[in-house]
Symmetry: C2
Subunit: 391 residues, 2 copies
């Protein structure tokens, strides 16, 4: 994306010595929109960045992996402040213009000396083509960097939206449960950028659920630097739909990648609830099914264990009548009117469960409420990763 | 317990040919109290037994493992009816006097011929000393039979309360998430028996949470045959406290055994929330901590990962202020005012996590709300068992 410089370095938060610090810089500043975790326990960088992003503009983001800087009290907040001051000094801008994000272990102090040593080389290494390296530097238990790009046209001007994300575990909406940075060269008002970002998050990151745990550090930041030179996009002007389309494309692609790369995931599962009394009940049921340990281990075992899906629906709190429920694996009817559709149906469904990706649809046949959630299975590796992580 | 005869047999619901059918019979009948799953998807035996128990008396319980007889529609209900009719015929009593319970795979028809063949030998084998065999016959993924016994005295008369349970997975209160049968020789009114049972369930089975999934088949039945010859215990008469004490003892012992033997469990963890705004918020927070996959995998990994506990508290919906939270492992302060209590504290806490059993206390320091939940860890074996089960 034109006008966004970035660089990565090691600040020794990670024991491996891999790059764990990244700087994204938009000379001349950018409009900013952001959304943060709804967890009552908020990491220091979340508290600080929320304050600064509220002003509607920012010039840079400094982000580290390997340490969440959460639950460190006032000292943690001062560490976050100092991190932004170091970045600001190296860039020759005000610290107020610098946002900060962190991801990793909770309750451990940041290695501030590591950051201080790394910042000059970060500033010296700023280049336009470095975003893939940033996507890699923000990884924790992720196995691959996640980037998505989309172009659009507003009033004859082409613009680019490029996003990156990291996720893996502790992922449940409320809010987006990860770090996501979206850069665009659009000329857009802050308020419009916030509207578009909030819509995109609702349709993408709020739909994913790896393990039902909500992180203390969830952060989605969008920066728009105006380099596309389009006429400014406002909240009720033309072009907003086109911008939304591009953001939705990037958000949805990243959300799917986050689930594909969920901790230990061997399956990507789209849970669709239809025919609920309303959308809210559909969402509730979809998340309960997506979080059920028994449903998720059955996915891992490639077992068309529809009884566990019925049981999860029945305890979800959503209105349902067992004898009205239909369940499908992709397009195969596994349960009709609450009853097993037979051996052949189960064999066909089981064949689909062997795929890397499939859809589970439950139609409650009560109303028109609908919701979709992306989730993964609960595998042996999920347990291995999370029993070993931090030790 | 005097006057309760029982027997077990194989009815070929289980492929192994192990005993999977049991009959408990109280000649002359008994007062009955019962509680059932709150899942909207209720197994056929739950629907049938709830109707019959409402009358306040029953003479026998027939129970099978290996098949839940859930989600089988009207045919499943007829199968449950027929099962009670077979038992009634063999015992020479009315089918209305027979309760039925099932546990096992959802959505598979019962092997009724197997039951028909087994019932005569069941009836012929009825003896007073067989309850331990019943406790074994109702097991599914349980690794050991679970029995508890307590004596009490009411107005000079000794009485006995004996309970058995099976659990293992799909265990979360709402309701007690298992099969539990409690036999007593007390002379007690049905209404008083229901009061005592409901209190006990609140203090025991409603406190356990293995995996957050609620079963379709949860059933707790208490039978009281009056053989102790005590003056009848009523809802506001003397003796009720003593009866409650005995029931609570049995309920709590069984609840703890159910968690100890939770699927794949390597840890027994008592989660205590103190200082919540009220008891309801404390319960909410305790269950969210107990269900968190990340907290549970950290228990499995013997990792004093208090950040995951803080994050779970923060998303629980209970009111909390991070900087007020104290967390203890047994009596060791791991977190004080939301902050890490230091390396020595963590080492001491980690040593406790290596035990088979420990307590995690979170004091929110906001009010006097309190709750306790028993849970287990999330182990590799939990995933192995549930990915393989049914296949």
């Amino acid at each position: 994306v034109a006008g966004f410089l970035s660089a990565t370095a090691s600040s020794k938060q990670k024991e491996t010595g891999a790059d764990d610090l990244a700087l994204i810089y938009s000379p001349g500043g950018a409009k900013v929109a952001a959304l943060f975790t709804r967890n009552k326990v908020k990491a220091a960088p979340v508290i600080l960045s929320a304050k600064r992003a509220a002003g509607g503009s920012a010039g840079a983001i400094i982000v580290n992996s390997g340490n969440a800087n959460a639950c460190n009290g006032e000292e943690g907040y001062r560490d976050a402040l100092k991190t932004t001051e170091m970045a600001a000094r190296a860039l020759g801008i005000s610290a107020e213009e610098v946002l900060v994000a962190s991801t990793g272990v909770i309750g451990k102090r940041l290695n501030l000396e590591g950051i201080e040593e790394a910042v000059p080389s970060l500033a010296a290494g700023l280049e336009e083509g470095n975003l893939p390296r940033v996507a890699r530097a923000i990884m924790t238990t992720d196995t691959m960097p996640k980037l998505s790009r989309c172009e659009g046209v507003v009033a004859g001007r082409t613009f680019v939206v490029c996003g990156m994300g990291k996720g893996a575990g502790m992922m449940r909406p409320d809010m987006a449960t990860m770090l996501v940075f979206i850069m665009t060269d659009l000329n857009i008002e802050s308020a419009a950028l916030q509207t578009v970002l909030a819509n995109t998050v609702d349709r993408s990151f709020h739909r994913i659920n790896i393990d039902g745990d909500t992180s203390t550090n969830d952060t989605v930041i969008a920066l728009a630097n105006g380099k596309a030179g389009n006429e400014v996009v406002g909240n009720d002007g033309p072009g907003l739909d086109e911008v939304q389309r591009a953001f939705d494309h990037v958000g949805n692609a990243l959300a799917r990648m986050l689930v594909f790369d969920g901790e230990g995931a061997t399956k990507f599962v789209e849970i669709v609830i239809k025919g609920a009394r309303n959308d809210e009940q559909a969402r509730l049921a979809a998340h309960i099914v997506a979080e059920s340990k028994l449903v998720k281990t059955a996915f891992f075992g490639q077992d068309a264990n529809w009884g566990r899906i019925m049981a999860a629906l029945g305890r979800s709190g959503a209105e349902m009548e067992p004898e009205k429920v239909d369940i499908f694996i992709d397009d195969i009817v596994l349960v009709k009117n609450g009853l097993w559709a037979g051996k052949q149906a189960e064999e066909n469904a089981t064949a689909r469960l062997k795929n890397r990706e499939f859809r589970v649809t439950a139609d409650l046949n009560l109303g028109s409420g609908q919701a979709t959630v992306y989730t993964s299975d609960l595998s042996l590796d999920y347990v291995r990763i999370n029993a070993d992580y931090r030790s």
